[in-house]
């Protein structure tokens, strides 16, 4: 067991894949000579060479698309986007090509690739640099989507993402790179689509992923002081969603709050709310509540941004609507 950061966990997962599977290579802007905008691949170019560690021009559509092509031809590319916000430049390639190739070829082609990107708001980068498109991409059939909240899950999910024969969006919340946690020495994987009960409780089910899990933990601690025993489910994957774990929890608690750190409207958590409502209707004591960031573009000003962001207070407020404390 070692205590490491999420950054180190991802670095370890990538290094391991490069060392154990010749078909794995990494590409992205400034990942080689510069060492990565978030230093994930620092030293990789020197260690693994330019064939495995490819610096790309600022051409997201072309290099994401080329990753898809390389995957279709038998390699396992891990493509880094400097920010999830820049995925928009490559959206056609991701959605129309990566996600659809297998289906529209009647199963002839597979696209085993991972697209990694830092995501999330909260550091005053403004409207164009703070968006969380994993919550859109999670809806697209044909691609999977993982979003870890801690080092243990980051490593386990990255391993299964790279091994997956499907395109995987791997969303890394930028607040969490320095976040620490224990990682076992023995090899393990975390399957895509498997959520986890991160805190068990009896009174209320709270669901999120990535940085949202940390917000739920704050909320749960505060509610505990008021005698409310909240259960937290960390989805870990946004696609597929582990509904069994959520529904089992809701059957126990009868109440649920779903948190998305991205905008409240139209994200994957809206979908989760809707599905859980249908599947667990008989067990629910109130509506499934949805909490998310406010539906405006991301402002630069710190106060405005903090106010727009979903916070633990918003979670508690939503909880109070379905449980009195």
């Amino acid at each position: 067991m070692a205590e490491i950061t999420i950054r180190e966990a991802i670095t370890q997962g990538l290094a391991e894949a490069i060392e154990t599977d010749e078909s794995v290579f990494i590409m992205g802007e400034d990942i080689g000579e510069y060492g990565g905008a978030y230093s994930i691949t620092k030293g990789f170019l020197e260690k693994y060479g330019a064939q495995r560690i490819k610096d790309t021009p600022i051409s997201e559509a072309a290099f994401v698309g080329a990753g898809i092509g390389a995957a279709a031809a038998g390699l396992r590319p891990v493509v880094e986007l400097m920010s999830m916000s820049f995925s928009l430049v490559a959206f056609d390639q991701i959605v129309n090509m990566a996600a659809n190739l297998r289906y529209m070829s009647g199963g002839q082609i597979k696209v085993p690739m991972v697209i990694r990107a830092p995501t999330g708001a909260g550091v005053q980068l403004g409207a164009t640099h703070s968006q969380s498109f994993e919550t859109w991409l999670a809806e697209v059939p044909g691609i999977y989507c993982a979003c870890p909240s801690n080092p243990h899950d980051a490593l386990g999910l990255l391993r299964s993402s790279i091994k997956s024969d499907n395109p995987v969006i791997f969303a890394e919340h930028s607040h969490l790179y320095g976040s620490r946690g224990d990682v076992p020495d023995d090899y393990y994987e975390i399957p895509l689509g498997e959520g986890k009960v991160a805190r068990s409780g009896e009174d209320l089910t709270m669901v999120s992923y990535g940085y949202g899990v940390h917000i739920l933990e704050q909320a749960a601690e505060q509610m505990a002081q008021d005698g409310v025993d909240a259960e937290i489910i960390d989805l870990r994957s946004l696609s597929p969603v582990d509904y069994d774990t959520i529904v089992a929890s809701v059957q126990k608690t009868g109440r649920a709050v779903m948190l998305d750190t991205a905008r409240r409207t139209g994200g994957i958590m809206s979908e989760v709310v809707s599905e859980v409502q249908e599947r667990a209707m008989d067990y629910l004591d109130g509506p499934v509540m949805r909490v998310g960031s406010k539906d405006v573009p991301w402002p630069y000003n710190r106060n405005l941004e903090q106010d727009i962001l979903a916070q633990s207070d918003d979670v508690i407020k939503a909880a109070r609507k379905i449980i009195s404390f």
Partner: protein, 364 residues
């Protein structure tokens, strides 16, 4: 001494034909040898007051950027901060010959362009501080400076995203039959985006009145241009493929840039067809405040370019030609310091936006 007595030094307004690729030795400076370049030119076609005013702008931008850096360290300026230090001569030479009715569109390294355009120093600084009095009411930040009244249409932080916008503004001019010129700034790195090539083709096939102004500072973040582009330095063959005239100019020479740009503006205004200007320049500091800027380039390379610092060479030239005295330059320096100090005070004392303002301006 009359500056016209001296021979012109820099090459300006030269339309370059396609040339072969650069040799590896030339890679670091992209075929442009800054050590062999002479000191900045002066010109009889620009009057003395204007030559001196350009120096004041240079100082203003440099000090503004240094001050932003200090306030970043203090936590008053946040987010991503991209400084223009080293590139001042380029922006000033490009923007000062534009008319008020002309349009400017730029990228995230935008403070220098905003100041050269004459946007209010106080309100730019207030935007940096995220205040209500900022040009974008504190919602845009360093990378998103706008002043629509001055036809300064942003500040865009997605690499290459500003190019189609600029083409659209130029299209509107063609549609409305104005003689307004649109100038769009971008870096060497942006030329690798699809939007660059798509927009060039559009501008060429529609004959739009637009100036594509590339500030080739030889690096896109940590990527030397020669590593990410075939032909490295040479953009004229790219432009040739789109049938767009190319002008190459020494971006460290403010007068050379200004004259080349003036010629281009006149031509675009008269003929309505696109022109591509490449200025070879250099940022002395890191890509953004997060980047020390020393991992991917040699100290010696930075040193070579620093020797051509326009803040040193240009005033030297003004003195040499008797266009200003040391006392004049000292006065300018003092007035710039006062302007920056006032801007910081304005930004500091300005109110934060009300929380309710987060919901304003989502729709018209």
């Amino acid at each position: 001494m009359d500056p016209s007595e001296k021979p012109r030094i820099a090459t300006t307004g030269v339309v370059t034909p396609a040339t072969p690729g650069i040799s590896p030795e030339q890679k670091s400076t992209n075929g442009f040898d800054p050590t062999r370049s002479s000191s900045p030119s002066l010109s009889a076609s620009i009057d003395k007051d204007e030559l001196v005013r350009m120096y004041r702008l240079m100082l203003l931008i440099r000090r503004f950027e240094e001050t932003c850096g200090q306030h970043y360290s203090l936590g008053n300026v946040r987010g991503f901060l991209h400084l223009y230090i080293g590139q001042e001569a380029t922006g000033i030479g490009a923007i000062t010959p534009l008319e008020a009715r002309d349009y400017i569109v730029t990228h995230y390294r935008d403070h220098g362009h905003a100041l050269a355009r004459g946007l209010d120093t106080n309100r730019i600084m207030a935007e940096m501080f995220g205040k209500k009095t900022g040009l974008s009411k504190g919602k845009g930040g360093s990378m998103h400076i706008f002043d629509a009244a001055k036809h300064f249409m942003g500040g865009h932080a997605i690499v290459g995203a500003q190019l189609p916008l600029a083409a659209g503004i130029a299209l509107a001019q063609q549609y409305l039959e104005t003689d307004v010129v649109t100038m769009v700034f971008f870096g060497d790195g942006a030329t690798n985006q699809g939007t660059f090539h798509e927009t060039l083709n559009l501008a060429s096939v529609w004959q739009l009145p637009i100036i594509f102004f590339m500030e080739n500072n030889l690096y896109g973040m940590g990527s030397a241009v020669g590593r990410v582009r075939l032909q490295g330095a040479d953009f004229s063959d790219v432009m040739g493929a789109y049938d767009v005239d190319t002008v190459s100019v020494d971006g460290m020479d403010v007068v050379a840039v200004r004259e080349a740009t003036q010629t281009a503006i006149d031509k675009v205004r008269a003929q309505g067809s696109p022109i591509f200007i490449e200025a070879k320049t250099f940022r002395f500091v890191g890509h953004s405040f997060a980047d020390p800027g020393d991992q991917y380039r040699q100290k010696s390379e930075v040193e070579i370019w620093r020797r051509r610092d326009p803040l040193v060479t240009y005033p030297h030239r003004l003195l040499e030609y008797g266009l200003a005295t040391q006392a004049d330059l000292d006065d300018l320096s003092e007035s710039v310091d006062a302007e920056i100090a006032a801007a910081v005070e304005f930004a500091t004392n300005s109110p934060e936006p009300d929380l309710s303002e987060a919901f304003d301006d989502v729709y018209a």
